[in-house]
Symmetry: C2
Subunit: 762 residues, 2 copies
Amino acid sequence: MQKSLWLSLLLSSGLFAQKKKLENLVPYVKPIIGTQRMGHTYPGATVPFGMVQLSPDTDTVQYENNGKYNPDVYKYCAGYQYDDKTIVGFSHTHFSGTGHSDLGDFLVMPTVGELKLNPGTADKPHSGFRSTFSHANETAEADYYKVKLDDYNILAELTATTRVGFHQYTFPKTENAHIILDLSSGIYNYEDKNIWTFVRVENDSLITGYRQTNGWGRTRTVYFAMKFSKSFFQYGNRNFSKRLPYRGFWGKFDQSKNFPELAGKQIRAYFDFKTNEGEKIKIKFSLSSVSTEGALLNMKTEIPGWDFEKVKQLGQELWNRELNKVLIEATNTEKENFYTSLYHTFISPTTYMDVDGKYRGLDQNIHKANGFTNYTTFSLWDTYRALHPLFNILQPKRNGDMINSMLAHYSQSTLHMLPIWSHYANENWCMTGYHSVSVIADAVVKSNTPFDVYKALDACVTTARHRNFDGLGYYMDMGYIPAEKNGSSASTTLEYAYDDWCIAQMAKKLNRKDIYSEFSKRSENYKNVFDTSVGFMRARMTDGSFKKGFDPLSTSNQGFVEGNSWNYSLYVPHAPDQLIKMLGGPDAAAKHLDSLFTMELPDKFFAETEDITRDGIIGGYVHGNEPSHHVAYLYNWTNKPWKTQEKIRMILKQQYKPAPDGLGGNDDCGQMSAWYIFSALGFYPVAPASDQYAIGSPAINKATLNLDNGKTFTIDVKNQNDKNVYVEKILLNGKLLNRLYLTHSEIMNGGYIVFMMNDHRR
Amino acid sequence: MQKSLWLSLLLSSGLFAQKKKLENLVPYVKPIIGTQRMGHTYPGATVPFGMVQLSPDTDTVQYENNGKYNPDVYKYCAGYQYDDKTIVGFSHTHFSGTGHSDLGDFLVMPTVGELKLNPGTADKPHSGFRSTFSHANETAEADYYKVKLDDYNILAELTATTRVGFHQYTFPKTENAHIILDLSSGIYNYEDKNIWTFVRVENDSLITGYRQTNGWGRTRTVYFAMKFSKSFFQYGNRNFSKRLPYRGFWGKFDQSKNFPELAGKQIRAYFDFKTNEGEKIKIKFSLSSVSTEGALLNMKTEIPGWDFEKVKQLGQELWNRELNKVLIEATNTEKENFYTSLYHTFISPTTYMDVDGKYRGLDQNIHKANGFTNYTTFSLWDTYRALHPLFNILQPKRNGDMINSMLAHYSQSTLHMLPIWSHYANENWCMTGYHSVSVIADAVVKSNTPFDVYKALDACVTTARHRNFDGLGYYMDMGYIPAEKNGSSASTTLEYAYDDWCIAQMAKKLNRKDIYSEFSKRSENYKNVFDTSVGFMRARMTDGSFKKGFDPLSTSNQGFVEGNSWNYSLYVPHAPDQLIKMLGGPDAAAKHLDSLFTMELPDKFFAETEDITRDGIIGGYVHGNEPSHHVAYLYNWTNKPWKTQEKIRMILKQQYKPAPDGLGGNDDCGQMSAWYIFSALGFYPVAPASDQYAIGSPAINKATLNLDNGKTFTIDVKNQNDKNVYVEKILLNGKLLNRLYLTHSEIMNGGYIVFMMNDHRR
């Protein structure tokens, strides 16, 4: 009865998510979570998978100009650090949770009084245009950010649509109101990062232009259109470059004031207004990768009017639509953790095309996305693990389009490679492996394939055979990458082996036995870097010997990237049963895992390890970085699955808190949050491209997954609390589940699963 | 009978020029004329008004990096100096005859033996990839250039279509043949002139990319596609930047060899071949301002195959079609001067759009030229004088399209100004005045208006009322520009006055009496800088007094740009009768002019004057620069027109020779050559925007102008030789002409004019 009622509702109303009355889940989203220290999230305004991320930047620390890494810049991957006392301005693009960075385009700052065109410094805030602020006067919601700029008595409010940032500044009465547009500012900035910037004052309320940078994205251009709700009465600029463009040689115009055609590397422009007490000046600021024409089209299409409240309301409705895909019963704290995590998983990858489907490709030509939404910001070394598998459940259409976007990248690549880490039509080659293949194979294995699967298989195979890429030729010839040839020889060998297994699974499904056979064989290459004499994975030399000076805790010069042998030795996600055998069988393996979670690490470990603070570490288990994300689930392959359940609950508790410092490591474009969502729901994709999810310990009381196919999968957790973390038994659709995994189709077909919890191991 | 035969031919065959058997005039075109010293022409391959100018560069002397002018760079405005002994390579864009420069994009150089990736220096040619050559092994024809590269025993041949350069290199037998693509090279280069360059090796014979520069054109981007006739077997590159792009930080690839995705500021790439004796490797190199896609489209459309000879033949046929617009009877020497001049007048402005009409505009957006050919390279301070008037006779359709291009520029200008000196969608603001209005008014007055005349009038008026531009506000308020406010106060006042007269003439024709009245009044402003006490034009102070320290010969700090008071004082082209009066009446004025042509100049004059050598000067008359180009014709307004005739013949003889050093000054995009064509034909447009041409002394025996309207105007010069330079009488269509001018319609209606010459003044 209940079921048929649902069915008739669905049949009469079309897609479930669009018609059902939405629960207001926005209050549980706390964008401030992760903004302190290592989370590298931003508190500003964005819609789900939006192209614009309009957010305050609290500092503009520079990369050092000699190319030397400045450790201070790392804190500002997302532009904002909770502990800072000043805001420099509001810029339009931000990565969410990355551990290297870029973007921060088009910093806008409203001021009053004396015109200042340099940002000043945190220790002397009044030396520049930045303003002090306090968290008491700050609000961060999904798609809405508000802050009082104390130095100027200006209330700043921000919201956004997919491609347009919307600013609303409430001014005091003044003859000297300024709005600064700083094109020299940026995240991970350094002198000469700006290749070029270009500004046109089209009329007394419209500015257009672009910023072209050479940073993490080597050749990246973002166009903009900026429309004020009120005409400025005068404007000007200063070019802070050491070397001015040629044009400055000619005295035909005073180019510093009311001159509408600017270009150069370090331009800060200002626009002047007179305001009454409480007067609002609004700005619509749209982006495009194509042209200023494209930016204008995006603006006109997405925000035709000036109703700030309405745009904010629509943005929050978009968020509610996405968040309603999982309805949970839990405490408020758990809901804040859960929905903020879900929010963070629905930020990246980001939309990368204009409203007409056009975008600038890898070849710098303008392409059109035909029949799909084009995305960018692929942090694949992170996100193949849990984020894209989560999308295959909650965002199947988008995940298919993300794969279409990856295939478009492949088509535009003269290297004929799928993306490694790509953003804004640039490959930045960050991190190791070719994990696009995992994302693609996972979708193929799970039959979520709104893309050309044969083209996709070709792309995967071609990528995986690119002999010039990062030791791959050696790997293909020798079964491992020799330590002399590559600094990450051991970890990259392990990652290739997993990726190759993914290709094999995909080939199997597509009935390509030749490819299945070739890559199944390659997938066993993890064995070639396992040193049975020590029981760890280990870098190996060309002559077959293992590299001398082995230290399983060290992350330096051991052949592992962003991790040590201890953690990477557990990285055989596609063959955990084999791994358990290599570790000496179930009992020995469980003990081995125990010691990981309980060891005391020497201090030097923290000194030499990137991306990790003590917060992100439990014993020697590093949750703050990705290579270990599947590790707590490995107990399921020993005879002690209750240890998985116990560890998962411990990690959830320790690593995710509803506070600014609530994330123990970089959120990494949603991977850390996706781990949370899966684990809180009680299962996890240990090996994406398998259709199985390892069962852990659900941390909510009830969850309903409202699937795009109209079905629901309900997770009913009985008797769960902080002590009752052990799974006593599981009933799937009323039947006892006698295994430690769920399959993808069991979820997607809809159903009802009951977890009976207790406080003692089974 | 003759006439009706012509008529029937025309009616049966369509446009005259396309069907009539063409005379082969290409042998008279000597592109080498003007390549020594001051002419600043280039010897390479181009088709009429072509976008590609593929020509050898003999040196790559740099502008100084501290922004200081390096006098050596001036010689290389067109990339080639006849006296040089080495060729650095062949680049694809060149200005013809300018006195400031830019371009030189995409230098290509074939070499053999050891790979060298730096150009070396002229004094140590073997230190780099440049090669010695000799003029004995060099041929320069219209659209064809050939040279033996002695160091490598390579024969280099070049030809071009409108948008594609075609290289043919004949190699010796070698295992080590290289073709270098140097993206760091350029004309008027300096460090950081390259904003960015981008190269993709699409496959083993196709390269694409772009070069973005900040030079005379502030934000200029040229895209290319480069197709080899033979596959290279390996390739590589070196980035000579001090600071390498971020991408270099990652060790995923060896980026120096066989790596297909390059970007940076100072890239030199090489492509390696093995060749047999006499083997030809050909390259098609196409340009676009839009995209590499656009460049590929241009290549496929214009040169689908690999037949070098055919492309050359078609290019020369295009030239013959244009050159046949004037058929002359003259000595071979005169024909070489004449047809090389005609060739030089048909090079600029240059086509600036892809085959599909798309081009990158001032706003950096992609525009489409609807119904016209879009042109760039507007050296208007030079070319308004005689080149555009010549086009109104010989290239009326193109001149209309040039005006359409100028109006498109105006539409894209946020300053709402017509072009001053523009190229590649950039305004470089070079020189003074707003002479677009002269070009437009001349076309309107002469009824050659394939453009929106009312929009054009609006554009002229808006431009001429731009108070912030170069002293214009003062000029509008005070009738002159005060010397304290502007370094060119006197000459710019004179130029504005003439331009304003142009606008008035146009307004009169379009029946806009208000505008006619406003600008007629402004056109008399030349009177405000005439100092009757000394009889010269003179810079004037805000208080109305003349600037102290007057020296009519000095070009320094006197208020005149590129000229002195002596020459500029004669610059009232629109009111020569008034000028004559101001100079004391016909007799005094003639004596005044005499003294200009006969004075002996002090040495300091040469030291301080730009753009002028002793070659370009006759007495104090400076033919090598433009402000005096109408001066010899001024005798027509005294009672001694025979002096005009005498002077014209003297100038023609002295200033134009069929030799590398045959031009006494910069050809200035054809203005110097246009002066030659008019003067050799016997008339000259002293005041463009008037429909009158002042009569001089024709230097050919007979000339037939084959007009686009199907009519012919024949100039029959009886008894003309070096001594018989005086015009005894003129018969126009059989009737005695009792005046010193021809009208535009007399020419365009077709007809027959006979000049009876003798050796004594009339």
